[in-house]
Amino acid sequence: MTDTAWIDAALTSARPQAVGALLRYFRNLDTAEEAFQNACLRALKSWPQNGPPRDPAAWLIMVGRNVAIDDLRRSKKQEALPEDEAISDLDDAEEQLAERLDGSHYRDDILRLLFICCHPDLPATQQIALALRIVSGLTVKQIARAFLVSEAAMEQRITRAKARVADADVPFETPGAVERSERLTSVAAMIYLIFNEGYSASGDTAEIRSPLCEEAIRLARLLLRLFQSEPEIMGLTALLLLQHARAAARFDADGAVILLDDQDRSRWNKSLIAEGLALIDKAMRHRRSGPYQVQAAIAALHARAEKPEDTDWTQIDLLYGALEIMQPSPVVTLNRAVAVSKVKGPEAALDMIEPLAQRLSNYFHYFGVRGAFLMQLGRNDEARTAFDRAIALANTSAEAAHIRMHLDRLQRDSQPRGKKAGK
């Protein structure tokens, strides 16, 4: 790896801790970010010559803080400027600071930094953009690309979000246990949003958007390292890993969706699956279930099945049942119905989704799933109606193309009717 690549990785990995500590110190996001930027510039100059510091984050915090304090003084013209060398000579200072950077501060600093991005007044897309900019340190250009918007539009979105956050009261005191756990819940939800922003991409944009999934995984692992014994954070991390493990198998060469049953399972990422399964195993030991763990357990059952027919649908049905109780939502019931169709047949599944018709009347997947059940029951005319509605509601061309495939099959099957009577 080249020097610059090494330094880039070091700066990226030190960023959440360094910006978090600088934010605690200056209590102002812009000052903290600027201080970190300045420290990075100095690192680029100093590290190739003097070698990397033992603790890059401590180095960056120290230098960033000193530079920012100097800038503040300079702007106030209260004192003469210190010599540049005086700031760069950090050997002893680094050691002292490293001592003071004890675990508890470090943990709350990073959590606070993530938490301010979850401000309830910010719409989800702004929360995500802000976190990617401030915590992950992606450039506006990178974020704009992942969101498929112009750089100018993204710049504006982030500036607006920052202004909103700056006006808000950022809680700087060390949080109590309840407060900490509430922050953790908000932050976990935000990381999940980042992941979904990448995961819900269609085939033609999946490649461009997959950095969002990778970044979400990096943040989830970071959060888990800070809160090693939180089963829901294990569940969240496992869920993201297990979903992302299938990335290479989810779309065909034309960008069309490949459903789980039809995916080439040899293309699933085994290392990510192993990590995800290890985490869900660990989480289950705590016997404190939660929505992320249940969803991860469902993903784990898919990941464990070497062939689609090995899938333990009975267990998946039970898990969705548990999820329905924790997080009642028609979409969860719709997902459960798919498991029910495998265990008890399409008739039972259809009965299950019938009551959802009104609430999901504009939901693409509802009509896709309904059409599939009807098709299995041989009620082809009704299936066609459902599929037509699904196409009208499709969010992406890939979704529409997928439904059209079903319609084509219905068309084919209806031709030689009579020959294929019975099951």
Partner: protein, 122 residues
């Protein structure tokens, strides 16, 4: 004599590598490993999953199960090699070669006392 070469590095840092950077490091390491394998000196090699996947069993009475790695350190045990070397100098040479392919962090070189290669296949 067999030596274990234990790899320590900041896993946040390693986790910040892009896929391309990670792959490039792995390719370079493979070159070093193949050289050793050709000489019949390479034993088991393992890259460990992140410490977040780790669980620790403290052998108290009764044993206590804890989430996370055994020790909270700035650099974590991320993998290991077992290599056959005549002496420490040779083992250090191997570690230097590996280090040139994968800079950053540290290798702990530990002579192996008992070694059973086992027969599990990945």
């Amino acid at each position: 004599m067999l030596y274990a070469i234990l790899c320590y590095h900041d896993e946040d840092h390693v986790g910040s590598w892009t896929k391309e950077q990670d792959a490039a490091v792995m390719t370079k390491l493979t070159v070093v490993q193949e050289k050793l394998a050709k000489q019949g000196r390479l034993g088991p090699v393992a890259r460990l999953l992140p410490t977040t996947a780790a669980t620790t069993l403290r052998k108290d009475d009764p044993p206590l199960v804890l989430d996370g790695p055994y020790a909270e350190t700035k650099e974590q045990l991320l993998g290991f090699y077992v290599v056959d070397c005549k002496n420490l100098d040779e083992a250090l040479e191997v570690a230097r070669d590996l280090g040139a392919a994968n800079p950053g962090g540290a290798y702990e070189i530990r002579p192996v006392g008992v070694f059973r290669p086992g027969d599990v296949q990945p």
